[in-house]
Amino acid sequence: MNMERLTELTIKKFDGTLSSAEKTELDSYEANASPEDLAAYHAMENEHSTVEALRVMMSARRRKEANRSRLRYPCDDVTRMPNRGVRSVPNVRRYIAIAAVLFALVVGAVLWKNMMPHKATTVAQGGLDGLEAVKPIGNKAVLVLADGRTIALDSAATGSLAMQGDVRVTKDREGKISYQPLSNMAAVGFNTVNTPRGGEYYVELPDRTKVWLNAASSIRFPTAFTGADRSVTITGEAYLEVAKDKAHPFIVNLGETSVRVLGTHFNVKNYAEDGPATTTLLEGSVRVTNGLKQALLKPGQQASSEKGVVNVNPRADTSAAIAWKNGYLNFNKADITTIMNTVQRWYDVTVEFEGARSAYKLGGEIPKNTSLKDVLTMLHDAGYRFNVQGKTIHMLP
């Protein structure tokens, strides 16, 4: 048996998906292999197992803080109000949070400083102290039903939230929202889930498509997909894992741009203030349309579309595009306008620019629950100057 086949079978063995014929094949290999081959096989198994373990745990660790918000502490009552800013953070965690920020600083500062001219040292540092407590809100969203009624999803009790015709909307114990049709003749209405600035939420659509909504975003969808295709409308940013259904294409409408998929994982971003819509494909295939222009994306590609133009980047940084879903704010060659737009959305503050804006590009990645104060400190160290008044940040030239 060659190494390729051996690896293939080992992976299946770990997954528990070996057919009985394959199991026999593997067993007989082990029984008849020479000691050297057997040693190599076990080493390969060991290696595979180690890589898998580290990947799983590292991946889990990236979502550790986001998952922490799903814990139901004994002292909470029914309305789990995420007043994160008021909670006093133990020393250890502050240290880790600051260490993470400093690490990003160290990695990014060299790049940043090389690109930034030295600014005057007079600093408008006042007002930063009050921002230590300003952190993103976390899981927070509003569900708007077909008849216009609204339900605050984060504070709603678990169980049945509403009946939409013959479709029941439920919230499970982990906060997940899902739709269950109770009959085949579901009368269709439209629901919308909105996230505020600083919020994010995860919803499962009636066809089991998974949607992660970023801050200041929304998704509008029917309570049951009964037509020839499955059509939703999204504003802001979302990451989708579309349930496979070859007979019914899934279409995401983003204003002028529409994205057509069959069964796939991709990220869409269309914030009005940022300009073009961005579609990043991780798995599967999608077709992006804007006006008369179309582009078919392969995994790893990213389309930027606006005003009848669709540009494709064949080697996009997909992990940067979905870093937000994994709990990081990621900037890749972003100018200060883009960065402050994201800061506004994520911390629910207002940013105003006075005078000329620097066109220098910055890059970096920080954990999403970094406090606003730490983010502004980083920018300050990178040479930016600003004035803070209440919830408004004035960027100085």
Binding site: D15, R68, L71, C75
Partner: protein, 198 residues
Amino acid sequence: MGGHYPEDSLIADFKKDSRKACNEIYDRYYERLVYYAYKIVRNQMAAEDVAIMAMNKLFEHRDTIESLEQLTGFLLRTTRNLSINTLKKETTDVSRDISYSSEFESDQKADALFLESERYYNLLQSVERLPAKERKAIELYLEEASYQEIAAELKVKTRSIKKINRRAIQLLAKLLHPSRSGATDPLVIGLFILLFRF
């Protein structure tokens, strides 16, 4: 992680509804529970869901917990049961034969699995304690980036990636304790082979 919480008061505080104690428990067990669940359900998101559910169940049953061993046992049993239930509810096209989930119902397997989680968790901690460049190189490797890509991301020459990996392995070996027989932990050997293959 978790070295700063006074051991003697953890259980007592936990039973008194201390949020700090709850967070400490979450911090300590989260990654291992996710891995444990992953070994059964074979899906990252499902494994994380199970870990959170198990944690919440523990919080609900804090009155029954008298010791750290009991706490650990509760978390493991709950994680195992929730994982097996998740498997049973699986509706994807993946076909696992029935013996797959029954394998995990044995207590012996459960203990072995937990020991495995512990060992890999220790390895993870060691990797996290490496200096930034070495750690980043390993992280990138795990994400299956090619050496060129890793070099580009770290902005160093490809040849020095091999040097960084070698340094990483040496440091790792120092950080991990050799077993009683004097041989290095097979997990470190696994990582050696991994990183040396290039």
